[in-house]
């Protein structure tokens, strides 16, 4: 293997010091005249799963997209406040570098129209993590193993990624995300297009990855949030209403709106 993960020593030290991978301070977002997020201050602990829940349009995906500056691409979008990744303000960060540190998995699996192998090797190649064929092979295998897909595709690495099943495609996307060794993985409803069995595989994978990565997941499934995460944040109309240990949120929520939402009294 080539040089190992190139982490910023200051960032590593920052996480080690306070255990926080992502922190937002008074984060607000506007789309044109509409305000999507209002002064959200939230701390996401490192190496664990934080679930973002709330009704449609509450700002959870907008919040997620702020963590790797995907909102930069949205016309008319204004972001104010701070987003700190391992203690560093991401506003001045190089976006390409930022996105190697913060991977993203989307609602619908979106493999590249390339082979399984190339889907995973693409990122490490363009970011210089894989310097030769041997590096790429090693990264592809380890990433696919960690994504729980290796045994299923090892004999079909040249097969197009798009020919895999929906659940396999999503695990391929996760393998692609972890191939560039991010610190944070953002997941935007990663199981919404999957059947219960494939969903179970993804959740199990998240469980296995949580010791190594900071995972932030947006989900509309209360049960998924309760099953997979250690921390849960509830958003409502662009505001962070409550954030706490998942067990507390789902058994003894403090905020009346949180209680009403998780018990299905509005949505």
């Amino acid at each position: 293997m080539t040089d190992d993960k190139k982490q910023n020593p200051a960032a590593v030290a920052a996480v080690a010091a306070n255990g926080i991978a992502v922190e937002t301070r008074s984060l607000s977002v506007r789309y044109g005249g509409a305000r999507a997020l209002w002064d959200v201050s939230l701390r996401v602990p490192a190496r664990g799963i934080t679930a973002l829940i709330g009704p449609s349009g509450c700002g959870k995906t907008t919040f997620l997209r702020c963590i790797n500056r995907m909102n930069d691409l949205v016309a008319g979008c204004e972001v104010s406040g701070e987003v700190l990744l391992c203690g560093e303000d991401i506003r001045g960060a190089d976006v390409v570098r930022l996105r190697t540190r913060v991977g993203m998995v989307f609602q619908k699996p979106n493999p590249f129209p390339k082979s399984v192998f190339d889907n995973v090797a693409y990122g490490p190649r363009i970011h210089g993590i894989a310097k030769n064929k041997s590096d790429a092979e090693e990264i592809v295998e380890s990433s696919l193993r960690r994504a729980g897909l290796w045994e299923e595709v090892r004999d079909n690495l040249r097969k197009p990624g798009t020919q895999l099943s929906g659940g396999q495609q999503q695990r391929l996307c996760i393998a692609r995300a972890i191939a560039v060794r991010p610190e944070v993985i953002l997941m935007d409803e990663p199981c919404s297009a999957l059947d219960p069995v494939a969903t179970g595989r993804i959740e199990e994978l998240m469980f296995e990855l949580r010791g190594e990565y900071t995972i932030v997941i947006v989900t509309h499934s209360m049960q998924q949030a309760a099953r997979t995460s250690q921390r849960t944040a509830f958003f409502h109309m662009g505001r962070l209403m409550e954030c706490g240990d998942t067990e507390d949120i789902f058994t003894r929520p403090q905020n009346e709106k949180t209680r009403a939402y998780i018990t299905g009294r509005f949505g």
């Binding site: 209360m222 049960q223 309760a226 789902f250 058994t251 003894r252 929520p253 209680r259 009403a260 998780i262 018990t263 299905g264 009294r265 509005f266 949505g267």
Partner: protein, 231 residues
Amino acid sequence: MKAKKTMRVSPHANPAFDRDIAAVAGVLAEMEEEVAGQLLAVSAAFEEMNLSKAWAVRKHDAALNRQLETLEERTVAALARHQPVADDLRRIVGALKTGIEYERMGDYVKHFAKSVGKFVAHHESLEVFPLLSQMAALVREMFAEFRAAKNDGDLEKLSQVWLFDRRIDDACHAAVEDAFLNQRRGDGNAHSLVHAVSVAKNLERIGDKIKNLVEIHYRQETGVALDLEAD
């Protein structure tokens, strides 16, 4: 105590959930009514030393067992269909626990009724009987206060019901002591005295069960345990 009233409950977005919870609550209400009726009936059988009334109480206990089965089916269905959380989950779990307590209370009432049968068979009228009557009245009062506090959603009143159990414990000690004194004096046959002690213990256990109901209901409504031991 900070929380005085139970929480306000608004309907679910999915009305089927409310219907399933109402179905659970309906069975529970029937069981509660059944227990109250059985307590009253066994007290009357004891006061009147009426064998047929005692027998009717014993026979009627099967109704509570059937209701518990229905409650189990409905709670399991609600859990499976809606996967409730927070106060909904506590209500469903609390309903099941409450139903089990009611069913046990029914068993103790049945044992009481069996003892009434023995007293009638031995034509006994022991000195301890008035104490047992008072104890039965206390138990009925405690249960009635539990129902009132629950229906009013009054958590403070509920705590008072919890403390009420001490009166029943004291009454039980007095009754058992009296029964032993009866025995030392050679008053009444041993068999009846054993049954008198058994009635006192059954009533004392019903008091414990009502105390459990208070704890279950308190946790269900607040999410925290009722802890009055330190008070």
